[in-house]
Amino acid sequence: MIAHSLKGPGRTGKPSAALRKYGTAGLVSLQSRMAYPAAFAGSLLTYGLFVFVFSRIWAALYSGRAEIAGYDRTMMVWYFIVAEIPAFGFGRFYYSLAEDMKSGQVAYLLTRPYGFTAYHFSQALGPALADCLVLALEGILLGLLLGGPFPLTTLTQGAALVLSLLLAGCLQFFLQFAIAMTAFWIEENAAFFWIYQKLALIAGTFLPLEFLPGAASAAARWTPFPYLSWAPARIAVAWDSREALLLLAAQAAWTAAAALLCRAVFAAGRGKITANGG
């Protein structure tokens, strides 16, 4: 371990060792999440209620209409079910990250042989994946009851959807982490997160991007927000292999950009810690 720490955070030796280290960190926090199955109940209830209420809205909306902006009622029910999974499962990283930032955990973690971002990433993603899995099972059940048959039929399509959801989770993490790290400069940064969260809701979570007025929809495509929920939901309900590839590529690109942003913010902020005398 000493050898590792001499190399400094984020520059561990072999990739396999790194994988084991962060894998373990993720697994431990996953286990601590599983120890309290009742903790799932709250988000299951809220998610289920949301899906139910919105399925009723769509029913009312589509009475006397077959389609709006290229979506029919069944597509809308499934769209909402898929779009809300990353919003619920990956949407609240900020709170625990911000807590770490404020509680002085940062300085403590810097003494460990961990990559700062990688460590938080594994900590956050482990339990979130468990949440998403449970939500997805509930969502599929509700979708079959309220909407209709599951829209995807082939294994490739299913794999693309899972990949898209995972990318959405990574993108959510890096963007929220960048916001949480603004605590280096501004302590009360919750307002930034709220704005981010609401923009994500409007740009593709509540409604498909296609529903937005033309200009707003076009502008939104140049922001990362549609790639948090719209991309996986679109892949799920309106399969088109060419579009799916483009969406996945865009998600990957935004995720890489967001990861770089995190690095930059951390590098700038870390200097700030030293300047303040730790």
Binding site: A38, A41, G42, L45, T46, L49, F50, V53, R56, I57, A59, A60, L61, R65, I68, A69, E188, A190, A191, W194, I195, K198, L201, I202, F206, L207, F211, L212, P213
Partner: protein, 269 residues
Amino acid sequence: MNRPRTGRPAAYLRFLAAAFTANLQAVVEYRISFLIQVFGMMLNNAAFAAFWAVLIARTGSVGGYGFTDVMVIWALTSTSFGIAHVLWGNVRSLGSIIQRGELDVYLLQPKDPFVNVLASRTIVSAWGDLAYGYLVLAFLPGTGPERLALFTLLALGGAVIFAAVFSAAESLTFFLGNAGPLSQAVTEFLISFSLYPETIFDSGMRWIFYTILPSGFIAFVPLAVYRSLDWPLVPVLLGVAAVYAGGAYGLFRAGLRRYESGNQMGTRL
């Protein structure tokens, strides 16, 4: 002991006024977090307003509700919820107060413990919910002094109903030991149902809105009253609110007889 004055209405009003003053001071004490929370709440509500604006722009109405209608039920629900938590900030902490035996302090004082415990706290962010309803009205067409007065009365009735349902769910702690999850579910359902058009729900389940989850008396009937300035229905709604309040009070009193003041001795044996 030479002041046998307890229980007079004037004394109660003086007490409630003092509690309210203390509540206002709490807002001043936490003004920064108050402003931040109000901002966050407004953002949240604005996101939903945008959702409805987009949706209704596409179809003209949803379940017979136009944009204004949806905004009025948002305003009613938000302000009612806000008033309930501003005036009776402990409505959703009652269960844990009972469980931790903290009711003792209120039982030691010469005022009704139900009123006393509920009025002894304010939720700072609830001022934002309260204000939001009026903000919405300010942007809607047709808002005048008469509608504002009517809205305020309707929201007061709604606040009493919110408080009654929440506190009743929390009072179940007397009987169940821990009513937390149940109360949380009731809270979430009541708020959610009060924020969406009644007509999107099947007629088979609408009876719920006039019984255990009274969104009908918080949002749907008040919307109709507000739309058509139907003043004669206002006393009826306030009467319904009083019935809910009476039920919640009765449940609390019944539970109080089982109060064990946090004497959980034996539970871990």
